[in-house]
Symmetry: C2
Subunit: 535 residues, 2 copies
């Protein structure tokens, strides 16, 4: 990577208390470089990495975001590169005696008048896309479902121009698992709730094998799925045989059904059922709805030291705009908020919300410990190369996606969202597992920030990707939807990027703009969180 | 299901000691039916379900396969339906004091002269198919790899007529995982060893993101992957730029590489690398090799009470033919052999092999217990509907796939096969996880028996599916490759079906026959076994 020669040296300090700053210049800064305040670099410091602003004695705290991100392992001279090997990671904060809803921030001022064009569902939720999803009880049927979906896309979908896509919800669960283990509720409710995602319009159809553990009525018990709302039915739907009864039974194609003679009988049964749902989906039209109908999941992945400086603060500003608009926003990733738990419990709307958050952290601590691990397993080689020394520093940068609103609700993994406002949806930090769980919670729009770069995409919802650095946004010009890197050099502000993201969300939600992942049809498979054993 | 009217009543008793038999007639037998020996049925007994041949007092053992599959919960009259609710499951056999290599069976007589046409690899292994596999270090790249594979199949593959397929090895591992946890070795070595499967010809190519935890050199350290054998190079390969050095470095396309400007640069980099490998794969030809080069993984799924009567004994007979031919055969599925562990340790070739088997069982017992479960979590609703009352009965029927040869080797999950003969490859019983782990072990041909019916298929190896019942084989006439159901009514013997399967294996391995799963291109995704936590 060439040393930066064109730009003056630029370092970024996040908080008055901080005794380190990060180098912003692309290519880093050479030893001997004089910073604007007069400090001269002792070492070469790569982009995103930390420089000591004052001498830091051995065992003293190294402060970034006003927080102790580590203790110096040795005396560190001012101007030195404070790399990860110089930092001892602090112990995780205990879960006793945390502040519970102590901050009680002023409610944010309401923001009215913003709308988007969405698909209103019978249960009141709103879709940003109009997709036929094919639910699967078990991995055994995945090959057959794929075969059928290819034919549906080729032979049926072109006749239904208002339907955006047909998506097979393949997964590795359903059989060969300890389905009665205490933790099995997590993958089961995840699959159930994904089927009910607002982007699927309540048109639940299931492909089942027959002998699996996760029987259709266990996956979707009566009453758990949307009843077809006949207000949306059309003559075409009626002609296609839409059930006039409000108590429509679960629509299941069971491959082991004696009626199927030969493989094509199975495929054609799936296609016939799909067509009934396509007719109904196709009759739907976008209507103007308030921005409060957005359900946004925010996430970061491939983070670097700029994540907490550019993209995540911009997302945090936008999170506040969404909360002010009455929308739902979820932030997640247990190991990436664990070190900031005291900030979050203090910001909880009520002591009960704070306690729910502590309950989720404690569950995850125990889960990791059972597997011989802890929160430090989170950081990646790329995080470290990008300047993040450890999970404490990473968490401080991650948590700012949540903005400043009171946290009004907490979800356990796989649960469905229950309220508007800011929700902490507890999930692993694994990008695809977090995305899968946010889908289950009912997300209809996804925002994903990245510093190192990832081509992340999901089939079920649009994913808006935000780059933390201009260099990444330039190289990945047709993968990144927003560049937050301009915040670094002062050409835009956090507020500018936050507002731009908010406006882009409304455009994408309305279907007027496609994200790059949609343009290229980049879809990562769902990955379930199954903390229970495999059998 | 209609009662059988055309066939005389038929029941099957597996062992002289048994006090139950199963009903073979399709549709079951009605109450009042007189069996050939004079016993009159007290209840209607469904197909595959057990009838008491004598009065069984409360607390007395119910015997099938000469084994106690349960204790009667109440007095059971002769002629009664012995359904699962009447059986109390025995405790799992302890792992102390088991017989260690006590049987020392006579070695089976060698079987010479059988061959197939296969692709000989540089490391001595033999492929049954000639496939380009695209290894992935992390799930993040899956969407991009899929996009590239679609283009490779459309634009490149037609030029390389000797190459059977291009397969993207997508998976959910690589990041967002506790990669240093004690159990992380399982998914890592699984992915490593799958890349080295004989059907991929040693042409390892990797797509990496860049920042992931599972870095390419951690997945495939120097020396772990095959060095390109230049004896197989051709002028065409040389022209395409094949590296002439025997110390070829690992071939990695890293998406975060600064050189990629825009999405298409990534896709084209993958395509360029793929073409180099396709050139070399295309230059290969099948050669005649002894049957000893087969590496067969046997598995069952969607089992019923006939699995242990028809398909699995036929597979067991064929397993013996393979061992006699000097081939490698793996049987697996810990929870489906757990209740027969004493039979297996006795049959081990050496006390060390028996101890290795006990070690794997103990590990799995602890793994299940940690998750609040045990071996009884194995059986499915379909198993029970098919007549299998519990895991003990299921295990007795499952274990017979292993035939009668001494067990000469044991693999832990994800390990690569080290020896010819009969190997116990410890895996979960989950169909796709077991198949994924057998692929990692080096399987080049897969045999899968099913009673309830499953459309199982893998992209990397041919899967021969064997039906336990004629009814299933008839209905699924274009999914089932072999019907073992004819064993029930005596029209064929276990030996007949075993020999037919052996001959079919040689045909399929030679590429002269395709399995039904290959014909329809039914491929289930890989599913990794990751007993370590997610972060």
């Amino acid at each position: 990577m060439p040393e930066s020669t064109t730009q003056p040296p630029l370092t970024l300090r996040m908080h008055d208390r901080d005794n380190v700053a990060i180098v912003a210049n692309h290519g880093g800064l050479a030893a001997g470089t004089a910073l604007p305040g007069g400090l001269v670099l002792v070492d070469r410091v790569p982009q995103g990495h930390k420089v000591a602003l004052v001498p830091i004695p051995a065992h003293a705290p190294v402060l970034r975001y006003g927080t102790t991100i580590g203790l110096a392992r040795q005396d560190i001279a001012a101007g030195s590169w404070v790399h990860e090997r110089l930092l001892a990671m602090p112990d995780a904060c205990g879960l006793d005696g945390l502040p519970l809803a102590t901050i009680q921030p002023e409610p944010l001022p309401p923001l009215a008048g913003y709308t988007f064009e969405g698909y209103r569902n019978a249960d009141g939720s709103v879709g940003t896309r109009n997709i036929l999803a094919i639910t699967q009880t078990v991995q055994c049927v995945a090959g057959v479902a794929d075969f059928a979906v290819k034919r549906i896309k080729a032979e049926l979908l072109p006749q239904f121009s208002n339907v955006d896509d047909v998506v097979a919800l393949a997964h590795g669960y359903g059989c060969g698992v300890a389905i009665d283990a205490p933790d099995a509720i997590v993958p089961i409710r995840t699959l159930r709730n994904i089927s009910l995602n607002p982007n699927f319009g309540g048109e639940v159809m299931v492909v089942s094998l027959g002998c699996e553990k996760l029987q259709p009525e266990r996956l979707l018990p009566p009453g758990s799925f949307n009843i077809v709302d006949q207000r949306h039915s059309t003559d075409a739907a009626a002609a296609a045989g839409a059930d006039a009864s409000a108590q429509a039974p679960l629509d299941v194609v069971c491959l082991q059904d004696d009626a199927h003679i030969g493989f094509m009988a199975m495929v054609e049964a799936i296609m016939r059922q799909a067509e009934r749902h396509l007719v109904r989906l196709n009759a739907r039209r976008r209507v103007t709805v308030p921005a409060s109908e957005l359900v946004v999941g925010v996430q970061c992945g491939g983070s670097d030291a700029f994540s907490g400086v550019t993209a995540n603060p911009a997302v945090g500003f936008c999170t506040d705009l969404l909360v002010r608009s009455g929308a739902s926003v979820m932030f997640s990733e247990v190991t990436e908020v664990r070190d900031g738990i005291a900030q979050l419990t203090a910001r909880a709307a009520t002591p009960e919300v704070a306690q729910a958050m502590i309950r989720e952290m404690a569950w995850y601590d125990a889960y990791l410990q059972r597997g011989g691990s802890d929160r430090s397993a989170n950081t990646t080689p790329g995080n470290k190369q990008g300047g993040l020394s450890n999970i404490v520093e990473k968490a401080m940068g991650s948590i700012v996606k949540s903005g400043s609103a009171p946290i009004s609700n907490v979800l356990a993994p796989g649960e469905k969202l229950r309220a508007k406002g800011l929700t902490y949806a507890a999930t692993p930090a694994s990008d695809f597992i977090c995305g899968t769980l946010q889908l289950a919670a009912g997300m209809n729009l996804h925002v994903f920030t990245t510093g190192r770069g990832t081509p992340y995409g999901l089939a079920a919802v649009p994913v808006i990707k935000v780059a933390t650095r201009t260099d990444l946004a330039r190289r990945w010009h047709d993968l990144m939807d927003v560049n937050a890197g301009t915040i670094t050099d002062g050409t835009t502000s956090i507020e500018d990027v936050g507002w731009a993201l908010f406006h882009l969300m409304l455009e994408v939600a309305s279907g007027r703009k496609k994200t790059w992942a949609e343009h290229w049809q980049l879809h990562n498979p769902l990955v379930l969180f199954n903390p229970a054993p495999i059998t």
